[in-house]
């Protein structure tokens, strides 16, 4: 368990590098930043936040079920968590797709409708993709880990004396949720009234 926490600290600083870059560029180009927020879909972003929070709830319930040796509940909640996680990724996919269609992916024929922000907006969109992309990657890994848990749960590995893997992957899943809790306001909300 301590190992997992240590690993999460590493993850905090991994994302931290990008958050630092975000802070710097947001401070440097506030107007360009404000202008990009019109492309951020608050409704989709908000929905995704809610979806992730739900998945966190089902995850913690799964851990609880494991602690209580309720295998059926454990499997149910794991599946629910995975469904929420998948919904999140699907919505994210739609968002990415619309950015792609609007030529807002840096490095791939990036076109911005306000020429004065063309360059700086590219950096901010890169940060958007880097941060959410890295987050999505963690989600995918998380889904893989949940699948592994599911298989083990089916094999009746877990009981009230042995559920550490469920707990650890739970911690990981909540951490990924926390990252999104910060990404949502920073990328979607701040500046969309400027």
């Amino acid at each position: 368990m301590l190992g997992m926490w240590t690993f999460l600290i590493t993850e905090v600083l991994f994302f931290g590098g990008m958050f630092a870059a975000y802070a710097v560029y947001r401070n440097m180009y506030p107007d360009a930043f404000a202008s990009t927020s019109k492309f951020m879909d608050v409704v989709l972003g908000g929905t995704n936040t809610a979806v992730l929070i739900c998945s966190s709830l089902t995850m913690v319930l799964a851990v609880r079920a494991a602690q209580l040796s309720k295998r059926a509940h454990l499997i149910l909640f794991l599946i629910l968590t995975m469904i929420f996680g998948t919904i999140f990724l699907v919505i994210k996919g739609f968002e990415y797709h619309s950015k792609w269609v609007e030529h807002l992916v840096p490095g791939f024929d990036f076109q911005y409708d306000e020429p004065r922000y063309q360059h700086n907006a590219q950096i901010l969109f890169f940060l958007y993709f880097a941060m959410t992309g890295m987050h999505a990657l963690h989600m995918v890994i998380g889904l893989g880990l949940l699948t592994f848990l599911l298989v083990q749960a089916k094999r009746r590995i877990f009981n009230e004396n042995y559920f550490a893997p469920v707990e650890m992957i739970g911690l990981y899943w909540h951490f990924v949720d926390i990252v999104w809790i910060f990404l949502f306001p920073l990328l979607y909300l701040i500046g969309h009234r400027r």
């Binding site: 107007d31 020429p115 004065r116 922000y117 360059h119 700086n120």
Partner: protein, 349 residues
Amino acid sequence: MPASLTLLLADLQLFPPAASAQAGPIDDLYWFEIIVSAIMTVLIFAAVILFAWKYRRRANVRATQIEGSNVLETTWSIIPFLIMLIMFWWGAKLFFAAQNPPKDAMEVFVTGKQWMWKVQYPDGSHEINALHVPVGQPVKLTMASEDVIHSFSIPAFRVRHDVVPGHYDSLWFTATKPGRYRLYCTEYCGNAHASMSGWVEVLNDRDYANWAGGGSHGSLAEQGQQLFEQNGCSTCHLLDQQGRCPILRGVYNKPVQLDDGRTVIADDSYIRESILDPNAKVVSGFQPNIMPNFKGQLSEEQVIQLIAFVKSLSPPTPASQQGGQQRPVVIAPKAKAPAKAPAASAPQQ
């Protein structure tokens, strides 16, 4: 072999010449650090050798077990710390003094590119990998990079500053001894990094006057004016009446109101940015997206010429010479008097 050895030793240098006003004070600190370090090193070496020899292992002598001593620990934490505080304070003081050039500093422009230093003087002459300065005169270098990070360094003057692409960096010095000194690039910048070096020639006043004699292409500002016309700037930036773009006369080093409400000083960096990326900071009352982007069209050297031209449109008065370093409150910006949106501009200062 002996012959070549003597040759080698004939060239042997152990300490660099000190040829600028700041070299002396920095050397003083350097010597202080050397003396402190030497004392510490000798003390520690002596203690190690003494203890190792005096308490070397002998047949029936046993080590005395000692726990440690809080008094000693505190002493040898605090004393070094105090000495280091002196170094910190001293170093910071010299560093602060190196920040701002005197007002009467002569301005020289340096552009770093892979792999050479291009130097431009206000009188319009220019040279590569060489810099001529008069003795006793403060010189401010305004430096730009065309590509990667370079670092401009003159060891004999103890000055060095990185030249980071995307903005101007500057350093200043006052040469105190006529002579030839080496200059280098000290930030690795690619294949021929080593050849990005040259000479600084410090000349006494008479020699400098002789050397500076001929700028056949006109002054830097005149070169800038040519560019200003060739690139069509003059069609919108009219010199005496309001065109589609701000009047540039009298703008240099004055506060400028931007369309997002901020105020910036129209210094070298701002003018550079406004040429290369005009939409980044648009003057209040003017339309964005009118002026073309000159990034990639103009070299850093040409930008410097243009800036010199803009600067020449604001003849130095005692007030404007001070203006650059002061708060932007006092002077009402002339340039922002806009034709199209008069209402926006008046009340806010």
